[in-house]
């Protein structure tokens, strides 16, 4: 096991082209407190290759209390090229497909087998990936990749043992919390209070975390008009909820602008996960225009109309 594994062949660009790898988009969802399945949005981040942002259109998903179910269909058009001369394994071996997720921010590394390919498989081999990651695990930036590995070492296979990674079919990084994937929304139920308001308890926006502890858009489900919000349908299906969130975020940003840290925030000098970093992210990723209150109000809504 110790020395032979050093000399195996790995997937290169030429072989990758020959096998015809065809992935469908990665889909994400979670199960909420009422055991309902809710879809999440996984969209590429502008200007960053292979980096995706995961958001919940209902602005409810929290990796601390909700699971994450990922699914993806992949097709390998010509699996036969993976075997024999020019391939990765002998014809009597079996090649496995595994899904890995790992993250320094989350301090975890996991791998799950999702499929197998043999020499005798027909063309257009379809593999369905379904992976559930339980709550309380994902944080920061997480890499997800799909790899080929030697699942069964054939008698003719001399240069690698079972478990050897033979190549990466695709990989992507997904950004979870700490990078502003969630708006800090708190629900309360009090018929004597207004429909919504904003709490701002900000001392140092460069350091204070972008969480309900420091800033929150409070929505009162006990208010007589709350039924019009249709919170359960999510921001994309509720123009009033979208207006509340847009206005709430504007109030937070205007409040932070009053602090002495504004220039440092715009120079990306904030700590990870802070209010300052969240604002920097909104401004630079979604083109929010913070030059004046009226420009900010307009640009937040232009952004929301595109995304939700």
């Amino acid at each position: 096991m110790s020395s032979a594994i050093m000399f195996h062949k790995v997937l290169d660009d030429q072989l990758f082209q020959k096998i015809g790898y065809m992935p469908q988009p990665l889909k994400g969802c979670y199960i909420n407190e009422f055991f309902e399945e809710n879809e999440l949005s996984i969209e590429p981040l502008e200007g960053q290759e292979k980096v995706y942002q995961l958001t919940d259109p209902k602005v409810h998903w929290d990796p601390e209390i909700h699971n994450l179910i990922l699914s993806q269909e992949i097709v390998i058009a010509n699996p036969v090229f993976l075997f024999n001369a020019g391939g990765l394994a002998t014809t009597d071996s079996v090649i496995g497909v595994a899904f890995r997720w790992y993250s320094k921010d989350s301090a975890q590394y996991n791998v799950i087998q999702v499929g197998e390919i043999s020499y005798f498989d027909v063309s257009n081999k379809v593999i369905n990936i379904n992976v559930e990651i339980s709550e309380g695990n994902l944080r920061g930036k997480v890499t997800f990749d799909i790899v080929l590995y030697l699942a069964k070492q054939g008698l003719l296979m001399k240069n690698a043992v079972a478990g050897t990674v033979l190549g990466v079919l695709e990989n992507k990084q997904i950004i979870f919390d700490g990078e502003s994937s969630m708006f800090p929304i708190v629900e309360i139920n009090d018929p004597n209070k207004p429909l919504w308001w904003v709490n701002c308890d900000i001392d140092e926006p460069l350091y204070d975390q972008f969480t309900e502890d420091n800033v929150a858009i409070v929505i009162n489900t006990g208010h007589k008009n709350s039924r019009y919000l249709k919170i359960e349908k999510g921001i994309g299906s509720s123009p009033i909820l979208m207006e509340i969130i847009a206005t709430g975020l504007q109030i937070i940003i205007e409040k932070v602008k009053e602090s002495g840290d504004w220039q440092q925030i715009l120079s990306n000098k904030s700590e990870p996960g802070s209010i300052g970093q969240a604002i920097y992210y909104f401004v630079n990723t979604f083109n929010w225009d913070v030059t004046s209150p009226e420009n900010l109000a307009k640009s937040i809504r232009e952004d929301f109309d595109k995304r939700f």
Partner: protein, 232 residues
């Protein structure tokens, strides 16, 4: 929601502490119950070690181990603490600087790195991860498995996380299997060598996907040194 404290704020606060004096807690009221539980755990640990391990030469390690197990149990079972939270340095900095700074002081004095300065040296964080990466069924069983190790193994296990995070199935299997080997061999360097070999091998193979899975993979890691006298 867990409170956090940034390194910058921790540094500011640390500079206000008086030399050679145990820092006092300065946390929100909602943390006082957790503080009480951790102080109790520390006292229980001291009593337990006085009673059961009084002739041991590695009292610091056994304190880390026993207190670590008690803290792990309290946080996981009473406070729903998760690995995701445990990966956040700022949560550990808040606990170290604001909630139980006197406990950190008792073990490390005013060593900045153990409170906030170096991510992998923050004491509470390090011992939580040491227990998490070694956990085997119960407090008692985990204590028995880890009892024969030393502070050197804490460093080896926790600091060799690599750039991509811990393979928890692998570390737990290594600790479980090595605890049996170590009793016979008394080899301090062997653990370090096994961890190094593991670091080299996981660049090529995925332990969970090998024939026989993680258990067999770890058996092979340990057996490698049995079969290679020149490497021993």
């Amino acid at each position: 929601m867990w409170k956090t404290l940034s390194k910058t704020d921790a540094r500011k606060e640390f500079l206000t502490w008086e030399p050679e004096k145990a820092p006092e807690p300065n946390c929100e009221d909602k943390y006082m119950d957790l503080r009480k539980r951790l102080i109790e755990a520390s006292n229980l640990t001291t009593q337990f070690l006085d009673k059961n391990e009084s002739d041991s030469r590695k009292s610091d390690y056994l304190y880390d181990l026993k207190f670590g197990l008690e803290m792990y149990n309290i946080l996981m079972n009473e406070y729903k603490f998760t690995p995701r939270l445990a990966a956040n340095d700022q949560i550990w900095i808040y606990l170290s600087m604001k909630v139980v700074p006197d406990l950190v002081y008792k073990r490390w004095g005013l060593s900045e790195s153990r409170y906030y300065k170096q991510s992998r040296r923050i004491w509470l964080k390090t011992i939580w991860w040491y227990i998490h990466l070694s956990w085997t069924n119960s407090i008692d069983e985990t204590y028995q498995i880890l009892r024969g190790f030393t502070t050197d193994e804490i460093v080896q296990l926790v600091e060799r996380s690599g750039p991509n995070g811990y393979r928890i199935d692998v570390t737990r299997e290594i600790m479980c299997q090595f605890s049996q080997v170590q009793m016979n061999k008394q080899s301090r360097n062997l653990f370090r060598r096994i961890m190094k070999l593991n670091t080299a091998r996981i660049k090529i193979v995925e332990p969970a996907l090998t024939k026989g899975g993680t258990k067999y993979y770890v058996e092979e890691l340990i057996k490698y040194f049995d079969e290679s006298p020149r490497n021993n």
